[in-house]
Assembly symmetry: C2
Homo-oligomer: 226 residues x 2
DNA sequence: TCAAAAGTGTTAAGTTTACACCCATGA
DNA sequence: TCATGGGTGTAAACTTAACACTTTTGA
């Protein structure tokens, strides 16, 4: 390529780091990894990877997520760019953090194992490399402040879920208990959370109705609200 | 430097683009520039610059802001990273967008002139280079949704301002008119907006009390709210 | 028959919105 | 003296929060 005006400026490694949230046993968890390369090999860190030539940064994040979980089409939001000069002690790396919400039952455990990746409760995160803890903090803040505004929680649950499960998820994310009747009233006002004919019998003798998130209904709802 | 594990990965130009908001004559405005270099020299764009070696990305944004406005210590928030492969038609550039709020009276007009930079009403933005319009859209969304939650509007006003000026600023940002009494009631509940002894006589015969934002009182308030 | 989770409405408290007049002053 | 923007409180509408019992069924 011919030299451009741009050529005089320095170039940098650019990475993506993924804060992968999952929900299991009533706890909000994050997927952490023992770093597979030097420097700091073996230390706890987020899952990340370098952006490739001819790869959008969001595609890089999707690729990392696919490699680590086996899932395509994961719900993902950019948290922001982290670019302090000395944030990475190996070499200068500018990193873009992405938060992802996954249904933990959907994860390929074998892939996790191959990458030394483990789920850790959000409240039990060990010391992490570089600024990864700050990334988690910002991602959690995003999750916490969006959970009541946008229907994103569903990505952490199986396709069918009971209202009790949904409420417990909200409670885990907000770290406070919610009133059952008020919670169900609010959910009842969301036309995109649909009761199905299915009944879950694993959690109680009586059985609980299973609900699903209807994405199409949600789009209708959004257009209607404009 | 010795080759590291990182060396095998590609490097990229990294830029910052600044969405600089100002408020003048009752209108919310953005500082735009006629691009000073090829490709697309002369086209309208945001103000930006390349990140340097040994420069934090936020420092790069501050530097661009200083070069263009003559002000240090500008209020600034990161909007996000933009990294589509072909977003910049010159060469691949990953860009971090920053929104800045400035007191437009404080700006060095000479510097603006030297950089072919002009203030344009938000509602009158011409076609812009690359994804710059999307950056403005996201920055405006941030401003609009934060203005009612956090005391950031003051950065767009002179140090002393009347409540009418403040209300008009809010109205310009929200693009809707507000009730004077309700507005003043809400402001009255904010201990960090202090009435000063000064009176502004330029806008009315009677004169209006001038207020200021007290940063220290705001910190107290935040700690108290925890 | 009882233990365990599911499901269901009403009232009080708090917040937000709507609304209209008097004041002080310079021209 | 009047035109102009500055300043002030109250009541209705709406939203949020608090609260307890009945239902179903498998063990």
């Amino acid at each position: 390529m011919a030299p451009t005006f741009y050529s005089q400026y320095p170039k940098f490694h650019v990475a993506v780091d993924c804060i992968i949230f999952g929900y299991q046993a009533g706890k909000l968890k994050v997927l952490l990894q023992q770093r597979p390369f030097e420097p700091h090999k073996g230390d706890w860190s987020l899952l990340g990877g370098f952006v490739q030539e001819n790869e959008d940064i969001s595609a890089a994040a999707q690729r990392v997520l696919l490699e680590l979980t086996g899932i395509t089409n994961i719900f993902m939001t950019q948290i922001g760019a982290f670019g302090s000069v000395h944030r990475d002690t190996g070499d200068r790396v500018i990193s873009i953090a992405y938060a992802a919400l996954v249904d933990i039952n959907n994860i390929d455990e074998q892939l996790n194992h191959e990458h030394s990746a483990y789920w850790e409760e959000l409240s039990q995160i060990p010391p992490l490399l570089f600024d990864h803890k700050e990334m988690i903090k910002q991602a959690y803040h995003m999750l916490r402040s969006n959970i009541g505004r946008k229907p994103i929680g569903f990505h952490l649950l199986p396709p069918l879920f009971t209202l009790t499960q949904l409420q417990q998820l909200y409670e885990a994310i907000l770290n406070e208990s919610l009133d059952k009747r008020n919670f169900r009233k609010r959910i009842g006002e969301m036309p995109y959370i649909e009761k199905t004919a299915e009944i879950d019998r694993t959690s109680s003798k009586r059985g609980a109705a299973l609900y699903k998130f209807n994405e199409q209904a949600y789009c209708h709802y959004l257009n209607f609200r404009l």
